[in-house]
Point group: C2
Chain length 360, copies 2
Amino acid sequence: MSLRAIAKRLDLSVTTVSRALGGYPEVAADTRARVLAEATRIDYRPNQLARRLRHGRSEAIGLVLPAEAGQFGDPFFLRLLAALGPSLQRAGLDLLVMSARPGAEELRAYRHLVEGRRVDGMLLARTRRDDPRIRYLLDRNAIFVAHGRCEDPRPYAFLDIDGVAACRAATQRLIALGHRRVGLINAAPHYMFAHHREQGWRDALATADLPTGPLRAAEPSEEAGFTLMRALLAERDAPTAVLCATDRLAVGALHAVSQAGLRAGRDISLIGYDDLPIAGCTDPPLTTIEQPIARAGARMVQMLVALLRGADPATQHEIWPARLIPRGSDGPAPTRAGIATTTPNPVQGGRHDATRSDRA
Amino acid sequence: MSLRAIAKRLDLSVTTVSRALGGYPEVAADTRARVLAEATRIDYRPNQLARRLRHGRSEAIGLVLPAEAGQFGDPFFLRLLAALGPSLQRAGLDLLVMSARPGAEELRAYRHLVEGRRVDGMLLARTRRDDPRIRYLLDRNAIFVAHGRCEDPRPYAFLDIDGVAACRAATQRLIALGHRRVGLINAAPHYMFAHHREQGWRDALATADLPTGPLRAAEPSEEAGFTLMRALLAERDAPTAVLCATDRLAVGALHAVSQAGLRAGRDISLIGYDDLPIAGCTDPPLTTIEQPIARAGARMVQMLVALLRGADPATQHEIWPARLIPRGSDGPAPTRAGIATTTPNPVQGGRHDATRSDRA
DNA sequence: ATTGACGCTCAAAACGTTTTGGATTACCCG
DNA sequence: CGGGTAATCCAAAACGTTTTGAGCGTCAAT
């Protein structure tokens, strides 16, 4: 089960065996054939531990999952993981995954991977405006590709989705539908993506000479979306449309809407962001912004491979557009009269009867 | 940045330096102090590649995610990943993650990890009744812990949740609530957990001398739950209660129910399985069965560590109970009269009357 | 016949660590 | 003083691979 075993059996040197298997040209054809035959006979697999030491490379890259209560189970990361698989396999790279809570524990994980030479490079996602992980990696001259940007001025490799443009477009769509009070349920604003999405929303409102609508932010979970939306609806001057920075927030918001006896897409418009699988089968199906996570993951691996081959990080960045997927959760702004008729029927009282009477 | 560097600088041998840092007793106190000082001065970190080769262990374990359309993004695995983190860190193990489609690609991933000596052991989840992964690992004498069982008679280490008991209890609960036609929306039956859950459901019905209700199965996704539930509701003899083998199925089913103009928990009872975060904020909140994924993940790591230390796989298996969490999606079976009162006002009419008249 | 080139092969070094099997002192006790 | 023992330390081997530098025939060109 080692080169030496094959060498001994064929009365060759390990050098020749190594070269025969490695496909080097300076080995005689019949020798190579003999080696190959013996190798398949004993089902030889090179010991990765040995070749890694020899090469000084671990042939692996790392990814640290945020194990935060709010993020816990965010489908984004699982989709990213699944997307990474094939590209990594093609590049011959393994993937080391750790989970850590943002903060000191998170940085320990990065140090563990990078300084223990467990990985040749890192991938990271959900960048933050001031991101200590990127700061650390830049300080150490480590190789990495970020999904999203941060505000560190130094050059680094990243792939980002243009959240500003996407949310500007989504907000403009709502404005075009006649909405004048467009709210935003945002993720925590220290996330760069949340900052961008908010910026797009502000842009569109400012361009249309509309006041910025109500803004709420929290960790992007269903619960948070539910709570924040309920709060928005209870306000005196509730918005007629709300942009949600993630689909998880939007799903929660959708529940708050239906629990309030309102009908999304008619009484109030909702637009999400991510196009999670669940977005297609909510009631009504969620209008949302599609993020090409799978393609992004694949491209990030390509960029990382380029960096490992010596490419300049300053040349490795791309910003991709996102695509709005119109479904049923948004629609024309209700007129004043319209709002009056869509409020719950006082006779029936129950919230779900109201929903039905809306439809009838 | 290596033992030799420290040794050279302090005029010691690498042996002594290694021992000083490793905490071996045969090194003088002041020597050790000097070594430690120098080590921290140059921020020495042992090269993992080297020590792994030397030890013949990779200090890592592997996990292969199913990258199947239906499973894509199943929160189960992300929760498992997050749960594994702390335990693995404590055990000094890294986690290698691959993604592969079930079938040949999946087995290639296992061979890649195991035969390339990239990992010391494997974790696997979502076992199947006839599980080629377990067969492979057993054939190769590889070390692994399974979450769930399979039908291979050979002894192996596993941790399972007692789905039979849980689903029996859930079904009994529905029966006690007066339901006589209790359906099951199951995951694909080649999954062991689906088989178990079905068995619990059958047990309870048989014990209560009730006919087995309608049974449907598919990959456990929201869409599938939606589609199957809609089909069940359209049947002539629709069930008054439906047990769903996973929360994702239940969430889809919930949407089908509300889209049919029915109210879960009153017109029809639904019970899920998993207690996903989303289960708490559906409308109504989902009665479900809690699976202690986090604790299970931690325990599986413990078992794996025991195996790596030489424990006998035959001694490493546990079956844990699951806990039913009553929330709002189930309730008393509607009486004939009761159904009439809870059906929507006939004046309002609508497309779902057909379904309702079946049940009336 | 000598030189050079080519084809094939090998021994040895290297990667950085841990471990084995001494070696060298110093010390104590008889 | 000799012999045993403890306390320190070290050189070298080992893990299994890749790579370096060189060796040795054979053959063609000089």
